[in-house]
């Protein structure tokens, strides 16, 4: 069953070139989809449209069968959560606790349940000891974990990670990716917006955008090996797959090494 259906959606920022051009895409419940593309390809615009932060100028977006509009946007946000690139832009609370509470207040969750959820998810992201601290005292990785706790606490069916690891150091990035794996295993639909191939290896399907259009959408294992499609959107093959490509081009036949390179690429 499709949880997100995007039909013929276009969007242009005021006085600028078209950011999304007639995009159609559907995402199944429980699926993990990576949306890849160059800077300016429209991938972040797409994520903002899905959560109703922007309004499509044409086309429709449905979440769980509900058509997105001004009157349904609250319902949609109960179903779709989003984690952005820069955690500093997402902080609204005076303390970590307030910040995690913000989304729950919007959902009008009862107070005892709210407290329970805040503490549960703060523990889950290892930020429980920081609940009464001010967010500005935290590192980038810690802030991003608080942002994730806020989204997890809302128990949405779908979570979009919009370049959520781009500002983090390698350790912070690995932790966020571990959350994605766990959530998806537990049934949450995950959409990762990224241009890092290492983040896309875990997804079921990859959609490549170029200049606001869907260039190609296919099973991840096909796109990961598709040098031509990736390079057309400023992306690159993972290094082991680049070597595999080189072997194919140069007629070097070594099936066991190729299999080894494929496994190596999946392990990041």
């Amino acid at each position: 069953m499709s949880v997100i259906e995007i039909e013929n959606v276009s969007f242009t920022y005021h006085g600028d070139k078209r950011a999304l051009d007639n995009v159609s895409l559907s995402i199944e419940k429980g699926e993990w989809v990576s949306i890849l593309g160059h800077n300016g390809s429209g991938k972040s615009t797409l994520s903002k449209l899905i959560v109703g932060l922007l309004k499509p100028q044409s086309g429709t977006i449905r979440v769980d069968g509900i058509t997105l509009s001004a009157s349904t946007v609250r319902d949609i946000r109960k179903r779709v959560g989003i984690v952005f690139q820069n955690p500093d832009n997402q902080f609204v609370g005076v303390t970590v606790r307030d910040d995690i509470a913000f989304g729950l207040e919007n959902l009008q969750i009862e107070r005892p349940e709210m407290i329970e959820r805040i503490e549960h998810y703060a523990k889950k992201v290892d930020m429980y000891p920081y609940l009464n601290k001010e967010p500005h005292a935290l590192s980038g990785g810690q802030k991003q974990r608080v942002a994730i706790a806020g989204i997890l606490a809302m128990k949405t069916d779908v979570i979009i990670f919009d370049e959520a690891t781009a500002m983090l150091d390698p350790e912070g990035r690995e932790r966020v990716m571990e959350f994605m794996r766990t959530l998806n295993r537990e049934g949450t639909t995950i959409i990762t917006i990224t241009h890092e191939m290492k983040e896309a290896v875990m997804s079921d399907r990859i959609v490549v955008l170029k200049d606001g259009k869907v260039l190609k959408a296919d099973k991840s294992e096909n796109i990961l090996k598709d040098k031509e499609t990736l390079e057309r959107s400023n992306l690159e093959l993972l290094l082991p797959l680049e070597i595999m490509h080189y072997m194919n081009e140069n007629g070097i036949d070594n099936p066991s090494l190729k299999e080894f390179l494929w496994q190596l690429s999946l392990n990041g």
């Binding site: 593309g37 590192s139 191939m197 390079e231 070597i243």
Partner: protein, 287 residues
Amino acid sequence: MAIKFERVGYEYQDIDGKGYLALADITLNINKTGEFITLIGETGSGKSTLAQHMNALLTPTEGRVHIFGVKISREGKKDKNLKLNPIRQKVGLVFQFPEYQLFEETVGNDIAFGPKNFGVSEKEAEERAKKMINIVGLDESYLSRSPFNLSGGEKKRVSIAGILAMEPDILVLDEPTSGLDPLGRNALLKVFYEIHQKLDKTVVIITHDMNTVYEYAKRVLVMREGNLVYDGAPTQLFSRKNVKNWNLDVPDILKVRRAIEEKLGITIEGETRNKADLMAKIGEALR
């Protein structure tokens, strides 16, 4: 010597007035020309603090920094004759989120702002804006656009063009490629490398990306808990001991090379600093 650190220490005061040592006893020389340095270290290791001492944005709480002959120290801080503007022009510092510093109505004005501020004529500043927008890989049509409608990667390039337009001798960049797509990242690194090679300038890049370190750097500085623990070539840096002790990420080239050597039971001879080198060597080994 363009920049000389002499036993530099820097202590932050947090809100409660508690001291926190961000830099401890750093001694270090950076030449005016010919250097391509990467500065690495975990979050909180002091690498950004170190970089901010390179153009006197921070004053050491211990020791001194000499920047193009100007001494920066705690004792000298109150000296009214101390002029920092020339230092800021000679050592251009690009922050991690430079896009927040864009504020003019057009990209062209934004790039020209810095040089004009340092006394360059309007016409010359406009000329430089044209030149620099091309150097960072955008075309001249961008000059008349509003900086606020640009994508993250484009904003980043514009702000770097703004620093380049001041024609600094030394360029210090804090995470200049974070958030850029692979093609944009490679293109910008090539820009920095060209600035270094063709204009013979020293470039210092703070990064978390070990691929950048391995492929481009001539010299690597590793910060750990406020101390400078390594100052040397990238090829010697990633020994198993250092990787373990300093919690380093191994560059992809090295990781894949080591895995293939182990899988095939071979030893690849010589350095492979980029993927073309590595593929050629693997090709040789397999034929």
